[in-house]
Amino acid sequence: MTTAEIVFTALGVVAVGAGVLVVTTRQIVHAALWLVVSFGALAGMYLVLTAEFVAWVQVLIYVGAIVVLLLFGIMLTRAPIGPGEGMDSGNRLPALAVAVGTAAVLVTLLVRGFKDARIELEPGGGSADALGEAIFREWVLPFEVLSVLLLAALVGAIVLSKGRARTTAAERGSAGPDAGARGSSPGSKGRER
């Protein structure tokens, strides 16, 4: 085994171990933080595979934004410090079965698809230039389809939040005569500023 392979395997162990801890820990914030470790190890694996750009994007998006958002969400709940109630689901066994099944399918697919084919890693193969060329020359259509999907999700989020706001405004309107004025005050205050 070469050094790269050893490092890759070690990082894989860390990533999988942290992932297992995410689902087994009984403290919800610890789960989110183990996720950081898992994502970090994953980024390290990308680095070993010379996919530099993907690695840093992994850190920027997943560690820097997604986990922060998760933590933000957890802080909004009544999650306690220390082992929390309801951290165990009744679906434990089915979930385990699904996870093992998915892993088995993926592993089988990879093993059958690639067997022992080896891809020589060339330094710079995963650089921003190479990646940009690949995405915008060969894979433009999937890229655009994905962006449409994300746009749809964005529009959906806006529609959902708007709909909620309208109903609450209506409720408020029926609650009392001054409710409407209160509802509109933050905006007008913002303008005065």
């Binding site: 610890h30 850190v59 820097g64 922060v68 933000f72 410090i81 913002g190 500023r193």
Partner: protein, 314 residues
């Protein structure tokens, strides 16, 4: 050998420059308020004040609240501090003078800086204190809002230079970028300040309402680490702004690294100046500034950069 020397130099810079910025903050802030600031420690104009503070912090007891999430509480200051040290290693101070020359240095710097903020969120959560929790939530909300304009503004500079390498961006800089990239520079600097939770964006640590936000329960050396992280953060944001938008080492007469230092300290002065001159933004004003002003400006700048690049055919 060269690498070792470079890393030692980066460590030395990491340990001294934030202290210099901190001391400058003491003195500049004092004089802007018609005071003198520290005058006794060390004899000459209180130059050793921060050393004295450090000694004081080191002597204090390392307390952990009984209800705190102990391990996370203890880990948080390190998570807050180390990323800035790592980022400093990729910042070029002169042509070819950089400890670690990454081809994706810009992305690396932005990604790692985001990790530092997790330290504050961890602290806010693990302290078992409602003020800390409020502070932690504000940190998270602020990071989510300001990460976007910051990355967009940085992308504009990268687009203008045609590279993500920090040395490459500083090398490609021309004087007219000062005009062309001015909106991006302003957006990047302001978003960087917000990410550091420096005044006027210090809502997460607003001492008059939530004591000291995520750091309320900290004392002694761990608290000092958070403070050091703040000043190291100023150093990092200022040096990134210098490299991306002010041409890094470029300048007449003086050697390159001196120009870098001069620009970084000028920006650090502006950071301190903002702290003295402006009152704290309210939480809604903070979010408004990010989403209503900074993000559109950054997007517009990105479009402008793209158009100019295509038209000039570079």
């Amino acid at each position: 050998m060269r690498d070792v020397v470079a890393l030692v130099l980066v460590t030395v810079a990491f340990l001294t420059l934030p202290l210099i910025i901190g001391q400058a903050e003491h003195k500049v802030m004092a004089h802007m308020q018609g005071r003198l600031g520290p005058m006794y420690a060390g004899g000459f104009h209180g130059w050793a004040q921060l050393v004295a503070d450090g000694v004081k912090f080191a002597q204090k007891e390392d307390t952990v609240p009984a209800a705190a999430d102990r391990r996370i509480f203890l880990l948080a200051p390190g998570v807050a501090l180390v990323p800035y040290l790592v980022v400093l290693a990729v910042v070029p101070v002169g042509p070819g003078q950089v400890a670690v020359d990454l081809s994706l240095g810009l992305f690396f710097a932005l990604a790692v800086m985001g990790i530092g903020v997790i330290g504050s969120i961890m602290a806010g959560w693990a302290s078992a204190n409602k003020y800390s929790l409020l502070g932690g939530m504000r940190v998270a909300a602020q990071l989510v809002s300001y990460e976007l304009p910051m990355v967009l503004a940085a992308a504009s500079a990268a687009m203008a230079a045609g590279t993500l390498n920090l040395s490459g961006i500083a090398g490609a800089w021309q004087w007219w970028w000062l005009v062309w990239q001015a909106p991006a520079a302003v957006v990047f600097f302001l978003a960087g300040l917000a990410e550091l939770r420096r005044p006027p964006f210090d809502m997460p640590v607003a001492d008059s309402e939530i004591i000291f936000g995520p750091y309320t329960e900290y004392g002694g050396l761990r608290f000092a680490f958070f403070l050091l992280a703040e000043y190291a953060g100023i150093l990092v944001v200022c040096s990134l702004t210098t490299v991306l938008f002010l041409g890094g080492w470029q300048g007449p007469l003086l050697p390159g690294f001196l120009w870098t230092l001069i620009k970084v300290f000028l920006l650090a002065f502006v950071v301190i100046w903002f702290r003295v001159a402006f009152p704290r933004l309210r939480e809604d004003q903070l979010q408004r500034l990010a989403w209503v002003y900074l993000v559109p400006i950054a997007l517009g700048q990105l479009a402008l950069t793209g158009v100019v690049k295509v038209v000039t055919g570079a």
